[in-house]
C-alpha cells in the first residue's frame, strides 16, 4: 500500500499521490491517500458510492485542491499548477461533448486551444477518429450519435492533446451492458497502444479486474487495498474487500492453528500462515461443488458441509444455489447444465478444498 517510490526512478509521466486529503465541511472525502501510478500503467479505482473516487480524480486534474498532501505528475508537484496547464485528459461519465460542435471540432478543440498548426491538427484528428472507429462521422453533431459513439469521441478528444495522464470517471456506466463490454476492451487496447498513464474510476469490480494492471479499492475516503487483480481476487485484505470483490460466503469462527478452523462446532481445513485466534473464513461460491453421498469424512485438504437447499437463482451459464448449514446460509455456484435439478428442501453435501478457503 505504501509503495510510493522516489520520483526519480518513476519516469516522467507517472502520477503520485503523497498523503493526499480533502474535507468537505466535516465529510472526509479523501483521507491520507498515498499511491503511485507508474508511467504507462492502467490503474483502476473502485469502491462504493461516495468513497472519494471522483474527488481523487479531480485532485489529479486540478479542479479540486487537496487540503493536505501533494499530487505529483512526472515527479513535479502540481501545487499551483492550474488544470489547463497540467496536460491531463479527462473522460466523463456523461461524455461532456460540446453540443454546438461537430465530432471533428470536438476532437480538434484542445489542439486549437493549444495553437497547434492547422495541418497537424487535421492529421492528428483524422488519426484519432480512425483509432476509435468514427472516421466517417466527423461532420456529425454529438446529439446524432449513440452513447457508445459519443464516448469514443470523448476518448479521442481527451487523447488529442497528447496528455501525460488519462483520467476516466465511470466512462461506461451510462451505457448498456453490451456496449460496455466491447468498449472496455477497446479502451484497454487504445491505452496499451498509446502507453498512456491511466486512472480509471468504476464501481464495477468485474470491469476493474478485467482491464487493469492494478486495482485500488477505496473505502470512506481511504485506500483499503492496492494490488494486481489476481491478488485482490485471491487474497482480499479485509472482509470489506472480500465483499466488494464478490466473495459472498464469510464464516466467522476461531482458528486453532495447524490448519484447523472451527466454525459452528465443525472443524474445517484451511491453508494459512496466520496465528491462532478469532478469524473469518471466506469461500467463493464457485469453489463449492456437490459431494458424493457418504459419511462426513473431513480428510485434510477437503471440507464437506451437509445442509439443505433453501433456494436457487438461474444466472445464465451459472445457477446460484443457497443452502443452509446449521442455520447459516451459504452460496454455491454450479454450471447450469450440469447435474440433477436441485429444489428447495433437498439435502445437499457441498465440498470445498482447503486451498480455496481464505482466512482473515
Amino acid at each position: 500500500m505504501n509503495d510510493v517510490k522516489s520520483a526519480k526512478n518513476d519516469s516522467k509521466n507517472g502520477v503520485e499521490l503523497v498523503g493526499v486529503g480533502k474535507m468537505y465541511g466535516n465529510v472526509h472525502a479523501v483521507r491520507d491517500v498515498s499511491l503511485a501510478v507508474k508511467e504507462g500503467e492502467f490503474l483502476s479505482v473502485v469502491g462504493p458510492s461516495g468513497c472519494g473516487k471522483t474527488t481523487m480524480l479531480r485532485m489529479i486534474s486540478g479542479f479540486v485542491a487537496p487540503d493536505s498532501g501533494d499530487v505529483r505528475i512526472g515527479g513535479a508537484s502540481m501545487k499551483g499548477v492550474p488544470p489547463r496547464k497540467r496536460r491531463v485528459g479527462i473522460v466523463f461519465q456523461n461524455y461532456a461533448l460540446f453540443p454546438n460542435m461537430t465530432v471533428y471540432e470536438n476532437v480538434a478543440f484542445g489542439m486549437k486551444a493549444q495553437k497547434w498548426p492547422e495541418d497537424r491538427i487535421k492529421d492528428k484528428a483524422a488519426a484519432l477518429l480512425e483509432m476509435v472507429g468514427m472516421e466517417d462521422r466527423a461532420g456529425a453533431y454529438p446529439r446524432h450519435l449513440s452513447g457508445g459513439q459519443q464516448q469514443r469521441i470523448a476518448l479521442a478528444r481527451a487523447l488529442a492533446i497528447e496528455p501525460r495522464v488519462l483520467l476516466l470517471d465511470e466512462p461506461l456506466s451510462a451505457l448498456d451492458a453490451k456496449v460496455r463490454n466491447t468498449l472496455r476492451f477497446e479502451i484497454k487496447r487504445i491505452q496499451r497502444n498509446s502507453g498512456i498513464t491511466t486512472v480509471y474510476v468504476t464501481h464495477d469490480q468485474e470491469e476493474a479486474l478485467s482491464i487493469s494492471d492494478r486495482v485500488a479499492l477505496m473505502r470512506g475516503g481511504a485506500l483499503e487495498q492496492l494490488g494486481v487483480p489476481a491478488e485482490l481476487y485471491a487474497s482480499p485484505a479485509s472482509e470489506f474487500a472480500a465483499d466488494f470483490i464478490g466473495v459472498n460466503n464469510i464464516m466467522r469462527g476461531v482458528y486453532q492453528g495447524d490448519g484447523r478452523f472451527v466454525w459452528n462446532g465443525r472443524t474445517l481445513f484451511v491453508e494459512t500462515k496466520r496465528d491462532p485466534g478469532p478469524a473469518a473464513m471466506m469461500v467463493r461460491p464457485e469453489r463449492f461443488a456437490p459431494a458424493e453421498a457418504g459419511p462426513v469424512l473431513n480428510e485434510p485438504n477437503i471440507n464437506i458441509l451437509e445442509g439443505r437447499v433453501v433456494g436457487k437463482v438461474f444466472l445464465g451459464p451459472l445457477t446460484r444455489v443457497a443452502f443452509s448449514v446449521d442455520g447459516a446460509t451459504l452460496l454455491m455456484d454450479l454450471l447450469s447444465a450440469a447435474g440433477e435439478p436441485l429444489s428447495a428442501g433437498d439435502p445437499l453435501r457441498a465440498r470445498f478444498a482447503a486451498a480455496d478457503a481464505h482466512l482473515l
Partner: protein, 265 residues
C-alpha cells in the same frame, strides 16, 4: 391534448386578433388600408414606432447583460439563494404605474435621491431628473422590472448547466475567453435567447410605467394607441391598425432574432 390547447388559443388570441384586424381595415365605413399607410405618412406614428423599437432593443440588450452576471451570482449564493430569488420576484408584482411613481418619488425633481445628491453635489434637480422623462429614462425604469425577468429565466438555465463541459474545455487547455465564448455562451444560448426575447416583447407592449413617468410626452407605440382610444377625437380603427403593427413587429423581430442565433450556434 392538442384540441383544448387549440381551442384556448383561438378563443383568447386568434379571435380577438381577428376582430381587431377586421376593424382596422375600415376607414369612414369603407374597406381600406389607409390606417396602415398612415404609419408611413404620419410622422407621429413613424417616430413612435422607432422610439418603441429603440427602447425595446436597448432594454432587452441591457437587461440581458445586467441579468446574466446577477443570475450567476444568485445561483452561486448558496443558502441565501431562496431569499434572493424571492427578492428578485418582488418587482414583478408591481404594476407599471407603481414602478413609474416609485421612480418619480426617488429620482424625480424633488425625489429622495435627487435632493440627497443636491446636498452634497452642486446639481440642478431639474436638469438632473429631466433625464428620467426621456425615452432613455424609460430604459432605466423598464430595467427595474425586466432584469428580474432575465434573472428568473437564467437561474433555471444555470441549475441545468453541465459544468463538466467547462471542465472538459479547461483540461484541454482552453483559456477563460475560449471557455466563455465557445462553451458557456453556446450552452446558455437557448436561455439567453428566450430571456432577451421576453424582455423585448414586454418592453414593446409595456405602458403603465411610461404613462406614470412621462404622461404621453414620450411617444411610444402603446402610448399612441392609448391616446387614439381615449382622446376626444378617438379613432378606434387607427388604434386597431397600430396594435396589429405592434403585434406583428414584435413577433417578426423575435422570430428573426431567434432564427439568426440558432443558426450561428
Amino acid at each position: 391534448m392538442l384540441l383544448p390547447v387549440t381551442a384556448v388559443l383561438v378563443a383568447f388570441l386568434g379571435w380577438p386578433l381577428l376582430l381587431v384586424l377586421w376593424e382596422s381595415l375600415f376607414v369612414g365605413g369603407g374597406l381600406s388600408h389607409g390606417n396602415y399607410a398612415s404609419l408611413f405618412t404620419r410622422s407621429l406614428y413613424r417616430e413612435s414606432f422607432f422610439t418603441s423599437l429603440a427602447l425595446s432593443v436597448s432594454t432587452a440588450f441591457l437587461g440581458t447583460v445586467i441579468g446574466l452576471p446577477l443570475s450567476y451570482a444568485i445561483h452561486r449564493s448558496g443558502r441565501h439563494k431562496g431569499f434572493l430569488m424571492a427578492l428578485t420576484s418582488v418587482p414583478l408584482t408591481f404594476s407599471g404605474l407603481v414602478v413609474g411613481f416609485a421612480f418619480i418619488v426617488l429620482l424625480g425633481t424633488s425625489g429622495f435621491f435627487t435632493l440627497l445628491l443636491k446636498r452634497f453635489v452642486d446639481i440642478n434637480p431639474l436638469e438632473f431628473s429631466a433625464f428620467l422623462f426621456t425615452w432613455r429614462g424609460l430604459v432605466v425604469a423598464y430595467l427595474y422590472f425586466l432584469v428580474p425577468r432575465m434573472i428568473l429565466t437564467m437561474t433555471v438555465a444555470w441549475s441545468n448547466a453541465d459544468w463538466s463541459l467547462m471542465e472538459a474545455a479547461t483540461s484541454l487547455g482552453a483559456g477563460g475567453g475560449t471557455v466563455f465564448f465557445r462553451v458557456l455562451l453556446p450552452m446558455l444560448g437557448p436561455a439567453i435567447l428566450s430571456g432577451s426575447s421576453l424582455l423585448f416583447a414586454v418592453s414593446m407592449g409595456a405602458f403603465g410605467t411610461a404613462f406614470a413617468l412621462t404622461g404621453s410626452a414620450v411617444k411610444i407605440l402603446p402610448m399612441v394607441i392609448y391616446t387614439q382610444v381615449s382622446d376626444m377625437s378617438s379613432d378606434i380603427a387607427q388604434a386597431d391598425a397600430l396594435a396589429i403593427i405592434l403585434t406583428v413587429t414584435t413577433t417578426l423581430v423575435i422570430m428573426v432574432y431567434e432564427r439568426t442565433f440558432r443558426e450561428v450556434k
